[in-house]
Each structure stands twice: as structure tokens, then as C-alpha cells.
Symmetry: C2
Subunit: 245 residues, 2 copies
């Protein structure tokens, strides 16, 4: 019995260290979202470059987390529940890494957009959207640390608002493009930025799913609430892709 | 020694069974790419629906692979190299699942596009592009089974052609949109389809990276060859996002 206890607490210590890395990574990703959105709004190339370069640190943290998880698997050989926990943590790190990549993409497009005519009003709408995703991420990481399935479930529903913001923006971009062909190039980039933010929301939702799994042992039944099926069919609505869920 | 041998071969048997599932999954994903591209070209809603519905089977296979991998980790407690192999296989299954999702997205957009005026020539270009990605995937799975790092490295370089096809299409779409605003809506969807295919190529590249890792114990130094940095800066070129690498 003593032996068992010892093994269990060694695993717990390892897991705690890994979770600390996840939180550190999450903090950097939150900052990337915030700084990326700010650089877009203020057309600040230096800020954008900062986000682009900062992504390397995020990637490194993911690698570190994966290495430590592999070490824990090999050394502690956790069974059942503990094994699931390690695999979940790796998935969450993967989601964070991809959100970081989206921020980097937004920064790259910002660097292109500063050379084009600004499109009235759209960067404020994009900022609102990314602020919501950033808040969702902060809450998801909080729910992760507390293993709180109720908070996680709430986040999943908030993603529907993000999807709606995206759909509204998609229609707006179409209008701008039709009004004046000179807007087309900029709108294509802005549209991709909107899509990237929408996908960040999907990844935050996946993190929330993992939190529910960690807390209850089961994935949420519907995986995630969907609002997209109908919107997809409406001319002018773009719907929500699922490639990144 | 006998005991060791026994454990190793039990692991090998388990791994073989999992690899068979990966190959089955890969076959379905190849078919999804092929059928999706065909439905787009022939504006065939029934075929598109078939792709959409078929994605469920692909998702189920990924879940099955993950479950079996978790079981192997718990039961066989593989160390070092074997552990890395299991984690790599899980990553490859993840890449396949996402390629399947992109096919599903393309099918969804096809169902919207049939209600719009076709854009001359673009569906042939998209078909060429997706045929290349499909061939790359077939070769990547083959390289995976043979643990062939040379074949895998060749695939990574072919992805540059896919990126170039995407960039050419991006410019074409811009031209069509500027020529006639009535093309805008359809071009936005076609552009996303092109982007989805380009991202499929990135996932095939990730599979090739894993094959190199499995065969040599090291990830390719540059992770992947890049051609995008300059193109990104050219007005009219869209560059290559990295969110899905």
C-alpha cells in the first residue's frame, strides 16, 4: 500500500509540473490573441512582428509538455484515469499551439493589410470577436485547473456567439466587396482573419470538452452545440467549418 | 530474456492491429478527397452528401485508434522507442481525421455552390490540386508502412507545388471578383475550398514528418520546406497559413 501511495504521488507531482507549463503556455497564447488584435486595430507592424516571433516560445512549450508527458508515461506507467489525464493534457497543449498559430497568421495578414486602404468599422468588430475568444480561453484554463465541468459547459455555449459574430462579418465583407472592387483584396484578408478567430473559438471549445472529460470521465454527448447547419445554407452566410474542431 | 521477447511481440501484435486501422482510415480519407473533388467538378449534390455522411466513419476510426493506443500504453507500458511509435501513430490518425474534416467542408460548400453561377475553369484547377494531395497522401501512407524516410522527404517537397497551385488560384479568384461583383460570393467559397485543399497538403506533410521521425528518431530539421514567406508579401498572393501544420 505504501508503495502504491508513493507511485501515485510521484505521478501527481509530475502532473502538477506539466499543468504549470500548460498554464504558462495558455498565458502566452492569451497575450498573443490580445496583442494580435491590438496590432490589427492600430495597424502596428511592430506589434504584429512581436506576435509572429513570440509564437516560437509557444511552440517550444508544447514540445516541452509533450516530452514531459512522454516521460511520465514511460516512467510512471499510469493506468486508466491517470493515463487519460495525460492524454487530455497533451490534447489541450495541441489546441493551445494551434490557437497560437492562428494568432501568428493574423499578425502576418496584418503586416499585409497595413499597405491597403482600411475598411471602416471592420477592425472594431474583429476586436470584439477576438476579445470574446480571449475571455473564453482564460475561463477555459481556469475551468481546467479547477476541473469544473459546469464552467466548461458554459464556454461551449459562448462559442455560438462567436460563430454568429463571424457570420455577421462575412455578410459585411461581401457587401464591402460588391460596393467597391478596390476593397476585394483587403476584405479577403480580413475575412481570413475573422475565420481564424472563429476557429480559435473552436479550439477553446475543444479545451472545454477535455475539461468535461477530465472532470466527468465522459465527453459531452453532442461534442459541441451547433448552430451552423442552417446558416450554412443561407446565401451570404458562410457557416462554420469543422476542420479544426 | 524470454519474458522480454514475449512482451515485445505482444506489443508488436497490438501495433500491427492499430496500423491496420490507420491504413483503413487512410483509405477512407483518400476516397473522401477523390469523391469530394468529383462532386465539386460535376456539381453533384448526392456525391457531396455521401462525403459529408462518410466523415462519421472516419471520426469513429480515429476514436478506435486512440482507444486502442491508450490500451496498449496501459497494458504493455512501452518504453522509449515503442512509446514514441504509439504517440506518432496517434498524431497520424489526428492528421487523417482533419483531412477528412476538410473534405467534409468542401462537400458542404459544394452543396452551396451548385446554386450559384459556375466560374469557368476553376473547378478543373481545384481538381488538379486535390488529385495531387490525394496522391501525396497515398504515398505518405505507403512510406509509413515501409518506414521509408526518403519517400517521406520527397512528399514534403511536393507540398511546395500544392502551395504554388493555391497561390495561382488565389490570384485567379481575385481577378474574377474584380471583373464581375456577381462572382464574389461563389469565389469566396471556391477560395475556401482551395485553402482547405492547401491545408490538406500541410497535414500530409505532417504525416511525412512523423514517418521520418519513426524511421530516423529525429524530426526533419526544418520541419518543412517553406516557400511562403515571400509570396505572402506580394500583393495578390495569399501565402500559406500555418495554423494547421
Amino acid at each position: 500500500m505504501m508503495g502504491d501511495q508513493h507511485i501515485a504521488s510521484a505521478f501527481d507531482r509530475d502532473l502538477e509540473a506539466i499543468q504549470a507549463l500548460v498554464m504558462k503556455m495558455g498565458g502566452l497564447v492569451e497575450e498573443a490573441i490580445r496583442t494580435g488584435s491590438k496590432s490589427l486595430k492600430s495597424r502596428d507592424v511592430e506589434l504584429a512582428e512581436q506576435v509572429r516571433k513570440g509564437d516560437r516560445k509557444i511552440d517550444e512549450l508544447e514540445e516541452q509538455i509533450n516530452t514531459q508527458c512522454a516521460t511520465v508515461l514511460a516512467l510512471r506507467q499510469p493506468a486508466a484515469r491517470d493515463l487519460r489525464t495525460v492524454l487530455s493534457v497533451m490534447k489541450i497543449a495541441g489546441n493551445l499551439e494551434r490557437i497560437g498559430d492562428y494568432s501568428k497568421n493574423i499578425a502576418k495578414r496584418t503586416e499585409v493589410l497595413v499597405h491597403m486602404q482600411p475598411i471602416e468599422g471592420t477592425s472594431s468588430a474583429l476586436k470584439r470577436m477576438s476579445r470574446e475568444v480571449e475571455a473564453m480561453l482564460a475561463d477555459a484554463l481556469d475551468a481546467f485547473m479547477r476541473r469544473d465541468p459546469v464552467a466548461a459547459d458554459e464556454i461551449r455555449h459562448r462559442d455560438l456567439d462567436v460563430d454568429q459574430m463571424y457570420n455577421a462579418l462575412f455578410r459585411e465583407f461581401l457587401t464591402f466587396m460588391m460596393e467597391d472592387p478596390r476593397n476585394i483584396s483587403a476584405c479577403m484578408h480580413l475575412h481570413f482573419i475573422a475565420k481564424n478567430i472563429e476557429r480559435m473559438g473552436d479550439h477553446v471549445t475543444s479545451i472545454a470538452d477535455q475539461v468535461i472529460y477530465l472532470a466527468t470521465g465522459e465527453m459531452p454527448e453532442d461534442q459541441r452545440p451547433k448552430s451552423n447547419t442552417e446558416i450554412y445554407q443561407i446565401e451570404g452566410g458562410d457557416g462554420t467549418d469543422e476542420a479544426d474542431e
